[in-house]
Symmetry: C2
Subunit: 309 residues, 2 copies
């Protein structure tokens, strides 16, 4: 029986000034999911590779599984025999939206297997529900870009009121993942549940500036606006050598540099691929100097999101 193989990319959430409401997709890394019909009734996950046994085969505990299952429930097709294989091809606990990529790939794959009854946008709630299994929170700033691609603005996570932002063609991201552990739970707990009004005003100014910069293709404005005065100052301490990595990125011409999602990955936005490669190498060098294993990903903004391979 024919199988469907899909890819869903990693993503960078928060993007300095859009905590919980902004994220973008990378071209790589990402996860692959393969689905096929089976004679055995019901939906099952038969294989997970690349996760060192750390992800559950049990559908109800697996982000890709739950996302797919919610879709099948919605379509009234839970009695169909479907098998899923998940091939993790990206680090998890990296701040690159690994569980979101799996959820996006899982729901997209099953929808494709069924002939595409829903649009990608219609799949979003199921993907978000899937990621919620891992993350606890219902938000789309990773899973939205992973599924839909682009630089995605989420006006409201409960309503999943999402909007693709235009992004300049030459906008590249250099993302370095240092192989140190930052638990999402810790990254949340370190955040104060209040923000000073002064910082709120500054952050809203920068968020607006960033959006205007995207719409007007104004790289300098994008650069001036990529300044997080709220989240980054609280979380930076969880990531060893963050300040030096950021300084290296800015010194080499990054428009801005901040924490990807809850970290420990650090992203820089840059104008052009050559510069992005140079900036990425400079960021990486800081971790290399400290004998911290790390991975570098350089990518334009991925406009496609989840795709059939």
């Amino acid at each position: 029986m024919n199988s469907i193989k899909v890819f869903a990319p990693a993503s960078v959430a928060n993007v300095a000034v859009g905590y919980d409401i902004l994220g973008f997709a990378l071209e790589k890394p990402g996860d692959e999911v393969i689905v096929r019909f089976s004679d055995q009734i019901g939906f099952r996950i038969t294989e997970i590779s690349g996760a060192n046994g750390k992800l559950p085969l049990e559908v109800a505990k697996n982000t890709a599984g739950v996302a797919a299952l919610r879709l099948l429930e919605h379509l009234g097709k839970t009695d169909l025999g479907i098998e899923m294989q998940i091939h993790k091809k990206m680090p998890f606990g990296s701040g690159l939206g690994s569980s979101a990529a799996s959820a996006a790939a899982g729901v997209f794959a099953v929808n494709e297997l069924l002939g595409g009854p829903l649009t990608k946008l219609e799949l979003l709630p199921f993907a978000v529900a899937g990621e919620q299994v891992a993350d606890g929170a219902y938000h789309a700033d990773n899973v939205g870009p992973s599924l839909l691609g682009g630089m995605l603005f989420i006006r409201n996570n409960d309503a999943l009121d999402v909007h693709q932002l235009p992004v300049p063609e030459d906008l590249y991201a250099a993302v370095v993942y240092p192989e140190v552990e930052v638990l999402t739970k810790d990254a949340r707990e370190v955040l104060s549940d209040t923000v000073s009004l002064k910082n709120h005003i500054e952050q809203t100014g920068n968020l607006g500036g960033l959006l205007i910069g995207f719409f007007e293709c104004d790289y300098e404005l994008i650069g001036r606006s990529l300044r997080d005065v709220i989240i980054e100052p609280q979380r930076a301490k969880l990531i060893p050598h963050f300040a030096e990595v950021k300084a290296a990125a800015l010194k080499h011409g990054a428009l801005g540099c901040s924490i990807s999602g809850a970290g420990p990955s650090i992203f820089a936005l840059c104008k052009g691929e050559v510069l992005a490669n140079n900036i990425g190498a400079a960021m990486q060098q800081i971790f290399n100097n400290q004998q911290i294993n790390n991975q570098l990903f350089v990518s334009p903004i991925n406009r496609d999101g989840a795709i059939k391979l």
Copy 2:
């Protein structure tokens, strides 16, 4: 000797979700300023009408005076003989940027008298310095629109990093000024100096949604985004019958309705002039029913700002 007569319009600051960083200009009301050369050395204010004696002729204490004087100092022309008349043609203490309109008109008039050595954008710092005399704070969310026109986003007030937003052609404002006193000082003091992280996220979502709505001419998105969860809930109690006025505006089809600046004026954004007139009348009716004197202004977004008459 020839005189120059200029007009600078009232403005609506904050615009629900852009506290301190967003404002737009109305077509009316506004202030007029007349300047002419005089044989007497130095810059003087010779007349103020429409202010019931409440505004000072002393240059250093007058917003229009200070704005003009800062320009003259910048140009090294403080020894020129210049007389200024200020004709207040709008209420003050209304939340409609009265002192900002005077400051914008004052600096624009003197610049015109001198043959226009600076652009309007170059005049902005002097206008902001002028308004600061009345307001205490250095921000451009009233004086920027008054001078430059349009829907103005201020990424950063210290840097005066200002950006004109595109606005849909049919976007109208209905603004009702109830003749009750709300001191800017009280409107400030009622605000907590912290914001919950949850509200910060919701407000940034709405701010971004509003900007995207303007860029994409999406009235529904503008409507969904005009929801202030931070400032309005704290200030509404300072304005009698605010909730009823807002409910009337929304019931009659306003995209959104909130407090103009520090109040007591209340603005509604609407699609189309006819609707704006109806909505304005409905808002006004609430105050009429309570025997509260009030004024209604219906206007598209004024793209011109300060103009020579």
